[in-house]
Each structure stands twice: as C-alpha cells, then as structure tokens.
C-alpha cells in the first residue's frame, strides 16, 4: 500500500529548515545571512502630446472591446550577433503563440503595427527625458543611437522595442546611502495584454509607442525597505519635473533580486512601490529555498546529467480516476500523461514561497511554455490532495516507479504533450543547478509566478530605420536652465521648515513641493501650517471626497492667494478646500457663500461670550473652565472662521 505522504508537514518542515522568517520580524541580519541583493529598473511614462516614433496622440486609452481592426502576428527567433539563437527566443517560439493585436484608429496608425517605418523621435519626449537624466546626475551621451531590443512575447508587434541610452553612471542620495545608477534610456511603451489563453494571446495597442523612460540602478540595495526607498526617490525625482504622467500604469518597475549563490531574477511590472518589500523579501527566500533543494539532491546523491523523467499515457477509461474528476475533464478530449520524477519525493512539496511549493514552478512553466491552462497538473504532494494513495499506487505501478520517486499527471491537448514533457524535464534539471534565470510576474500578496526565461544579452541591434541624434553642448546647457532642484534638497528644506517627516512621501509623490514652496515664499504663509495643510489635510480630502474634473493642485495655490488678498484667516481654507476639490470650476466668492462666511470684527465674535458662559453654567455637565471654554469655542467657531484664528479665539476666552 502506498504511504500517505504528509505534504503539509513537509512544506512546514522545509520552510523552517531554510530559516524563512516573515518580513515583519526579519532584520538586516536576516538579509545579510541570505545575501539579499536588489536593483531596480524604474519605468515612467512622459506627459507628451505625441507618441515617441509616430504622431499618434499619447495617453488615450480604450476598453478591451473598443477596436476598429485586429491582426495576427507570430514572433520568430532571429539570429544573434554571433549567429546563434537566444534561449528565450527559442522558448517563445516553442510556445507557438498566435498574437492578436487590436487597433483603435484614434490612437494607433500603421506604425504601431509595423507596417510603416518610424518617424523622427519626438523632440519634446527627448527634452523631458534629458532633463530627468540631468537630475539623475548622469553623464549625457554625445549622440543618441536608437537600438532595437528584442521582445518575442508579442508585447510589441515589431518583435523589438526601439530604445536609446541618454546617460550613464549617475547617482541618487538616499537617507543613509548613495545608490549608483547604471543608465537611463528613452523607449517606446509596449502593448497592454488583454488575455492569454492556450495558444492565443491578445493585446491592445493604445499604450504601445508612448514615450517611456527607464532608470536602471546598480544592484546595491541590501534590504527590501531600501529597495522601496530608492524606487520612491526615483519616482519623486521624475515627478518633480511636472512633465511625467501619473495614475495607474504610468509608473512601473522591474525589480532584480538575488540571494547569495542565487541568480538575478527579474520581477516584472510591479505596479506599486509599496509591494516591493514583500516581493523582494519572498524572492530572496525563494532562491534560498531552491538552493536548499539543490543541496538536498546532492545529499541524495542524484546527478543531473543522467536524470530522466519517465512517463506513460493514461487511458482515461481504464484508469480509476475519481468519478467527479472524470466528469470534469474527460469530455475535453485531452491526453492525460503520468510522469515519474526519480528521487524527487519530498521535493514537490518543498517550500518556495508562502503557500507555494516546488510543484508550482513546474505548473507555471507548463502554463507559459506549453500553453496548458491551470489546473494543468496533479501530483503526489499536493497540499490539498486531488487523488488518494490507492490511486497513486496504481499510477506508480503503471510507471514502474520507485517508492522515492515523485509522481505527477498533467493534462494537455495532443499537440502540446511533447513540449510539456520537455518543460518538466528541463525545469527539474535546473533544480540541480539551483536558481534558473527568469522573469517573474508579481502579485499583491507578495508572491510571484514564472513569466519568461530571462533574455540573454544578445538581443540588442542598431535600428537601421533611424539616424543617430547628436546632442550639442548648447542644447544640453539650455535644458539645464529650467530644471527643478534635487529631491534631496527638497527633503532638507522641508526638515528646516519643521514639516513633519511622515508627510514627505505624499508631498513628493504628488509633486506638491513647488506649490508649497511658492505659498511659503511668495504668499508668506507659515511653513508648518502650509506643509501640514497639504501633507495631511489635502491627503485626507483626496481619500474622502470625489475629485472634480479639472481639479489641479494649482487651484489650491489660487485658494491660498484668494484668502490672502481678502485678508481671510487661514482656518477658512479647510472648508473651502472640501468644496473646491469636488467643484473646481466654482468661483472662490461663491465658495465663501457656500461655507456661509460672514465678516465679523473681533468685538462681534466675542460679543455673545458672557451670555454663553451663563448658559453653560446652566446646562454644562462638566463644570470646569476648560470644558466651558471648549463649549463656547464650538459655539463661536463658525463666526471666527476666516475672521480669527481659533488659537487666538481660545486665548481670548481664557483671558475673560
């Protein structure tokens, strides 16, 4: 009788064996122990009228079903500089994907679908990107060379992205550390994926071709929080120009992570910086776990060179699949193949990430490379078993497999069976070497799944359709004239103004600093009040109220100016902001009426005080001076609004 293997216990045992710690309790020592190392590639869309290489409008997006035409392409690997095919290239070709592109005439032309060569690179985009390069302290190149970077996943219809380096070797200043930058490039954005099912992948072309910059750091961050800090810094720097797009998808980053003895793995398209710490933490430990699997194989004395899977097709009618299982899958006409992984018992349920085991690595590759939809695989070490041990014993016998072999069954259309077997063999072979080079897709819960094999270096070609663009000294000097100051300088200035530090992230991410600076220096408002008004109150309003169309932070500046010109005390700014935020088109005068503002002199405001004191003594529950003043304050608050600061009012009450 087959032993019932306790997969959950094994998952937990292997998790503690590698010394996994949740991020909450992890310290710098934890990260030093596993040799955490991380670098960033931060992408940022620019705010321009046109796309980068054609004159289609940038930033107009469509729903998935809004398209005027659809076309199909296939991506073929091309020969590298040395006359070889890239590994990724071959994998992508293996997947035999039909790639569909949906085109909307409003935002895509024949350039996007590669039926017209590129037009000249958009001047405005170049200018913004260079400004950011200068802010990033990069060495600016003398001539911009457009390069083709191959992508065979279909995300770009040409099969390559046009991209160009603007500067190399820069740096940014974090709180306790300088992070060096490798380079900054300007490039065309890719398509947005609509779906990827079986052999068909569907994209839309609205975002395709929009100007994008990529800032690449050296892998110098040594803990997850540092990665987030660096990422925020770069994003705030980009936004400080006021010339980049914000909102969903406008800024995305790829995060490279490795651990000691691991490999550079790229987590692609992380949408929010706040996801970074958990993702990098888990990825470093995933690699640490894979290295443990490698060692375990060595301990078991299994060698990778001669290791071979063993498989047999299952006859759906003659196999004792449980009845519900049969009903669910038998009708699709798929093949069921049983596979033995010699000596792999206990490895399929080996911990890799929270709630994830080594078997997931196989299943994810089966989905991506062999196009097998989940659930594509069932195995002897599922955390929630699909089949019982008697069933597996039958399978084990039909495979002539040994007791210490792990078993799995995958389901696949007949045409994909060979690829699927290759994928299983290949991924298991990689286990003998530790961590495969790959890119991974991120999830909000901090885990990742396999996305693609990491492309080799050999995928860059000069773009024969574009001429190099010289950057003269005069041009660069001209750009330097109108640049904003450094993020680090802004940080220090806010500290000097005593603005609380916990507001900086919000202020810098929304690029509110220039407005705050203007209000303080031009309108002479108190720095602390202004900083808190933006960093706390505006943030609160944004979270609670519905933003009106055409609302911009410039309007808040106008509000401050209006209050100053009308000699209104600043406490009126609070109610006015709530209204102006929802109805930005309203005249400030009407807003005053809306908040029921009436001008009152000091005497008028304080006139009812004596009456109120008597009244409180009749009705007040707590008869202390403080309670009494607070109650009167509440009664007079509205009269004071815009006429007297509340603090002054309270002082007056205390005097009487």
């Amino acid at each position: 009788m087959e032993d019932q293997f306790d997969s959950v216990a094994n998952y937990e045992a292997t998790r503690s064996k590698i010394g996994y710690e949740p991020r909450k309790i992890a310290t710098q020592e934890t990260y030093n122990r596993i040799g955490f190392m991380s670098g960033l590639e931060v992408h940022q869309q620019l705010k321009t009228r046109y796309k980068l290489f054609c004159r289609c409008p940038a930033g107009i997006f469509h729903r998935n079903d809004q398209f005027n035409a659809e076309l199909i392409r296939h991506m073929r690997p091309t020969l590298s500089e040395l006359g070889e095919y890239d590994g990724t290239a071959l994998m992508e070709f293996k997947t035999r994907k039909n790639i569909f592109y949906r085109i909307n005439n409003e935002n895509a032309c024949t350039y996007e679908i590669d039926d017209t060569p590129p037009f000249l690179l958009d001047k405005k985009s170049l200018e913004i990107a260079l400004e950011i390069s200068l802010l990033s302290k990069l060495n600016i190149v003398g001539e911009v060379h457009i390069t083709r970077k191959q992508y065979l996943d279909g995300s770009i219809p040409t099969g390559f992205q046009r991209t160009a380096i603007l500067g190399v070797e820069g740096h940014i200043e974090l709180k306790n550390k300088t992070i060096r930058l490798i380079q900054l490039s300007i490039e065309e954005d890719s398509c947005r994926e609509i779906s990827d099912i079986g052999h068909n992948r569907v994209f839309k072309t609205d975002r395709l071709g929009m100007p994008l910059i990529e800032t690449v750091t050296y892998p110098e961050m040594t803990n997850p929080d540092e990665v987030m800090e660096a990422c925020d810094y770069i994003r705030f720097l980009n936004r400080s120009t006021g010339k980049v797009l914000t909102g969903p998808g406008a800024g995305r980053q790829d995060v490279n992570v490795s651990c000691k003895g691991g490999t550079r793995v790229e987590i692609k398209g992380v949408a929010h910086t706040k996801w970074i710490p958990e993702l990098t933490h888990n990825e470093a430990f995933r690699q640490w776990a894979l290295l443990e699997i490698k060692e375990e194989l060595e301990r078991r004395n299994i060698k990778g060179e001669n290791w071979k899977i063993n498989h047999t097709p299952l006859n759906i009618d003659k196999t004792t699949f449980p009845e519900p299982f049969k009903q669910k899958y038998a009708a699709a006409g798929e093949k069921f193949i049983a596979v033995a992984l010699p000596g792999f018992k206990g490895l399929l349920s080996h911990f890799t990430q929270p709630e994830k085991i080594f078997a997931n690595e196989l299943a994810e590759r089966l989905k991506v490379i062999a196009c097998l939809e989940h659930p594509n695989m069932f195995h002897t070490e599922e955390l929630t078993p699909t089949f019982d041990s008697a069933f597996w014993e039958e399978i084990r016998n039909s495979l002539n497999a040994k007791k210490d072999d792990a078993l799995l069954i995958f389901r696949a259309p007949e045409d994909d069976v060979t690829t699927a077997l290759e994928v299983i063999q290949e991924r298991c072979e990689m286990a003998f070497d530790g961590v495969p080079k790959e890119t991974r897709k991120s999830f909000e819960n901090g885990t990742t799944i396999f996305e693609r094999v990491l492309p080799g270096a050999d995928r860059m070609y000069p773009d024969t359709d574009s001429a190099p663009i010289p950057l003269t000294n005069d041009y660069i000097e001209g750009l330097k004239q109108n640049m904003p100051n450094d993020i680090v300088e802004r940080y220090e200035q806010m500290q000097e103004w005593n603005i609380p530090e916990d507001t900086y992230t919000y202020i810098l991410s929304k690029n509110l600093y220039p407005i705050i600076h203007k209000i303080i220096t031009e309108l002479k408002y108190a720095p602390l009040f202004t900083g808190v008004f933006f960093g706390q109150h505006l943030k609160f309003i944004e979270g609670q109220y519905k933003k009106g169309q055409n609302f911009s932070y410039e309007i808040v500046y106008g509000l401050f100016k209006f209050a100053q010109e009308h000699k209104l005390k600043s406490n009126i700014l609070y109610p006015m902001l709530s209204i102006i935020y929802e109805q930005p088109q309203m005249e400030f005068d009407s807003v005053l009426t809306d908040v029921r503002y009436k001008p009152h002199s000091k005497e008028e405001i304080l006139a009812p005080v004596d009456f109120l004191r008597e009244k409180y003594r009749e009705i007040g529950r707590v008869q202390t001076e403080q309670a009494e003043n607070n109650w009167i304050m509440g009664e007079l608050r509205h009269r004071a609004m815009g006429n007297m600061e509340y603090k002054t009012l309270m002082n007056e009450l205390k005097k009487r």
């Binding site: 590669d114 390559f160 000069p462």
Partner: protein, 461 residues
C-alpha cells in the same frame, strides 16, 4: 591598413582615434567634459558625420561620444565581433519536390551587418535551413546566386541572365523555381520573365520580404515557405509573385507576373493584382485556387527563352502643362520607344501633338497606358484620343504602365518593325491585357464608411 583598424571613421573622428591609439573593436575608457564612458568602439556607418565615436556599452546599447568633449581616451582591451550565419546541412527528404532558388541580392533571409546596419543575406541552402528550418518539410532545395544587386539596380542585363539560367534549370528537370528578389522592382522583373520565359512547364515564383528577416515579426520566412510550396507542390506553371495576402501572418497570394503591382511603400500586404483577382491563395500546407483558368504544370521540359531587351525605351508620366520639348529631347537622344502614362482614359494635352507627330515621323514606337492604374485605355471616346491615335500612339488596353514599359523594351529588343512591334505588344502572353475586368477586380475600399468599418473589424485580419 587604417581602413581595417578604423572602419568607417573619417576626418576628425579618425584623427582622434589615431591620436589616442584606440582601434575599432577596442575596449575604450574615455574621459570627457560630460563624464566618464566605457565601451567597445564600433565601426561608424560611412554616411554619418566625423564628429562622433560610436561605442557599445556593457548593457548592450550603443551610444555616440562627441569628439569635442573628449579629454582623454585609452584602449584597455580588444575583442572583435565575428559574424557568421549558422550553416546546417539542408536535409534531403525522399518524395519531396526539388526546388531551385535563384538569389538576386534581395533580403529574403538575412542577418544584420553591425557595421553598416545593412542586412547580410542568408542564402546557401544551409544558411536558409539554419534560419527557416521548416523549409525542409516542403521541398529539397538547391540554390544558385545569379548576381547580387539591390532591387532598384535590377535591369535588362539581369533579366536576360535570369531568363537564361531559368531555361537551363528547366531543361535539367527541376520541379519548381523560386527567385528571391527585393520588393521595389519585383513587378518589373516578374513582367520581364513572363515575356522572356514562355511556356514554362513548372511554376516560377518570385518572392521578397517587406521586413528583413533580422526582425522577429518579419514576413520573410512565411513568404519563403509560401513560395517554396507554390513552386514545389503548386499546379500553376506561370511566372508569379508570392507575397502576403493580408498584413497578418496568415496566407500568401499568388499574383500573375503581368498583373501585379506594389501598392504601398511599407505594408506587408503591398502586392495586389490589378484589374483581376489573384491566381490563388497559398499556405504552408496547400493552395486554394481563385482563378479557374491557369496554365497547369507539365512533365516535359519544353520552354522557350526570348532573352531580348532594348534599353532605348522610356516612360513619360504626363502632367498638365507638360512641354513638347521633353518629347523632342527624348527623340533627339535616340529613344525608339515611349510609353505614355496618361490621364483619365489615356490623354495628354494638345500642346504635345506636334512633338508626338514628329516622333511618329521619326519612327518612334508610342503606347498609351493609364495613371488611374485601374481600367482600360479608351481613346475613341473623345476627339483628343482619336487625334493621338492618328499621330501614332497605340492604346494598350488595361496593361499596367510598368508592364507596358518592360514589354516594349522586350519587343524592341527583337524587331524595329512597327507592325511587328504592335503585334507583339497587343498579343497577350499571360493576361497583360485582359478581355474583361471582373466586377471584383477593382476593390479600393474607403475607411470610415460603416459597411467597410464592419468588414475591417470583423473580417480583415
């Protein structure tokens, strides 16, 4: 010597490299007023300026350094890139047809030349197999490079050489012929071969690509597979062009060599049959005939080669206000044949009549074709047309202007006799003039119209 060491660099950039002893393919470290740079010095494309040095940096990108900013430079290593196309032996499969591929310098399969940015064609069967292994499932391939010229440099000399080479190959018993060709003048060569290689027993398929095969979404591989299939397995023994039907990777179309025209400067689906439907649709696995009537494949090796061409032929694209001296000048230069590309039904203005008359008297052969591309020349409808015919201009029905030009050159290569030339011109060899234009021979749709939009969204892939 220097030319090898400093490939492509001239003038001041060359002086700079020489001064610091930095070679092309040398790993260089540079100090500039814009900071420090490191990378491998790459060759410079010859038509570019002499004030920048190109480098490939560690991340694989290329950048240019302004020589004005360089304060110091040092070569710290050297590594020359080596270009090779992998060559794998093209496997012989019993039972598959033998196909001969003639190369003319087009970039049907290729890889990039790093230096010039140009594409190096892959051509030998081994190279092609390395690039498009699926070809081995279609046919047994033999290749021969007839010459290597750019499409725009193809001309009478090449047509004649190609026609003779095809003749020899057919006599040797090949089962199909494919000609790799640049797309710009593909239609001219297709017309010339139709006239020069008559009554072929096997398919003769011209093929090119609109996107060179160094690009992942190139149309080259699929075009090549379609052409090989049509040549090896197809039943149509005519001179044809095989190129993308739609812009999508789907099917190819087989166009008659005399009715095909490149209609877009860059689209993949640029080749269209004009005034008729294409011969057939072709996929990697089969051919779907559209035309019921075609010349079928035969077992014999009887083919007639007419390798003639006179280069004393020209074309005049008429425009309003054209001056008669243009014609006078051409005639005085000794041109024997003129193909007019006229407006509307085939017209030029009256001002040209005296010059046309003079040309006619000097024995110049004159033919009328259309700027409208679609439709027939009708010179009986208006007086002007009748006037022109009286002055010796012969209407050519719905023959395409480029085809008329090629045909006149071919005819004048054989005879100077007016009547004989006229007979050659007006007797169709393979539908260069058709008797009728089917209703679906002219379909130029307009975007924006509701029914077209619906068709484009739902059907046209």
């Amino acid at each position: 010597m220097d030319k090898d060491i400093f490939q492509g660099y001239t003038g001041r950039a060359l002086t700079m490299l020489q001064k610091y002893h930095v070679r092309v393919w040398g790993k260089a470290v540079m100090e500039t007023t814009r900071g420090h740079f490191e990378g491998t010095v790459l060759p410079r494309a010859e038509h570019q300026d002499d004030t920048h040095i190109v480098m490939k940096i560690a991340t694989g990108y290329n950048i240019g350094i302004d020589i004005e900013t360089i304060t110091d430079m040092k070569e710290v290593g050297y590594s020359k890139a080596n270009y090779a196309i992998p060559e794998k032996e093209f496997p012989y499969t019993k039972g598959l047809p033998s196909v001969k591929l003639f190369g003319t310098g087009g970039t049907i399969a290729s890889r990039l030349d790093y230096r010039t940015g140009a594409v190096i064609p892959a051509f030998s069967p081994g190279e092609l197999y390395g690039a498009v292994p699926e070809l081995a499932d279609i046919c047994n391939l033999e290749t021969e490079k007839v010459f290597a010229v750019f499409s725009e440099n193809m001309g009478p000399t090449q047509y004649i050489a190609l026609a003779k080479a095809i003749g020899k190959e057919i006599e040797k018993g090949t089962e199909g012929i494919v000609i790799g060709h640049g797309t710009d003048t593909l239609q001219h060569t297709a017309a010339a071969l139709t006239f020069m290689v008559q009554n072929p027993p096997v398919p003769i398929v011209l093929v090119g690509s609109q996107r060179s095969s160094d690009r992942p979404s190139s149309d080259a591989a699929l075009n090549l597979m379609h052409a090989m299939y049509a040549a090896g397995h197809g039943d149509i023994a005519e001179v044809m062009v095989s190129m993308f039907g739609p812009t999508s990777d789907d099917y190819g179309l087989l166009h008659k060599g005399t009715r095909v025209r490149k209609m877009h400067s860059s689209y993949r689906s640029t080749f269209r049959t004009i005034g008729d439907t294409p011969l057939a649709m072709v996929r990697r696995t089969g051919i779907e005939h559209i035309h019921k009537n075609y010349k079928p494949r035969r077992k014999d090796t009887n083919v007639k080669i007419f390798p003639y061409f006179s280069d004393q032929v020209t074309m005049i694209y008429y425009y309003p206000g054209m001056k008669p001296e243009i014609i006078d000048l051409l005639v005085d230069q000794g041109y024997k044949g003129i193909v007019f590309v006229g407006t509307g039904l085939g017209h030029v203005n009256r001002e040209l009549y005296p010059a046309i008359e003079r040309a006619n008297e000097k024995g110049v052969h004159m033919y009328m074709t259309l700027q409208t591309i679609w439709g027939y020349v009708h010179m009986f409808v208006y007086d002007t047309g009748r006037d022109m015919m009286a002055r010796g201009i012969v209407p050519t029905g719905n023959m395409l202007p480029e085809v008329a030009f090629i045909k006149l050159g071919w005819a004048l290569g054989q005879t100077n006799d007016k009547e004989e030339v006229k007979k050659l011109m007006l007797t169709s060899i393979n539908d260069e003039i058709t008797e009728r234009e089917p209703y679906n021979g002219y379909l130029v749709y307009q975007g924006g119209v509701p029914e077209v939009e619906e068709f484009v969204q739902k059907t046209r892939k």
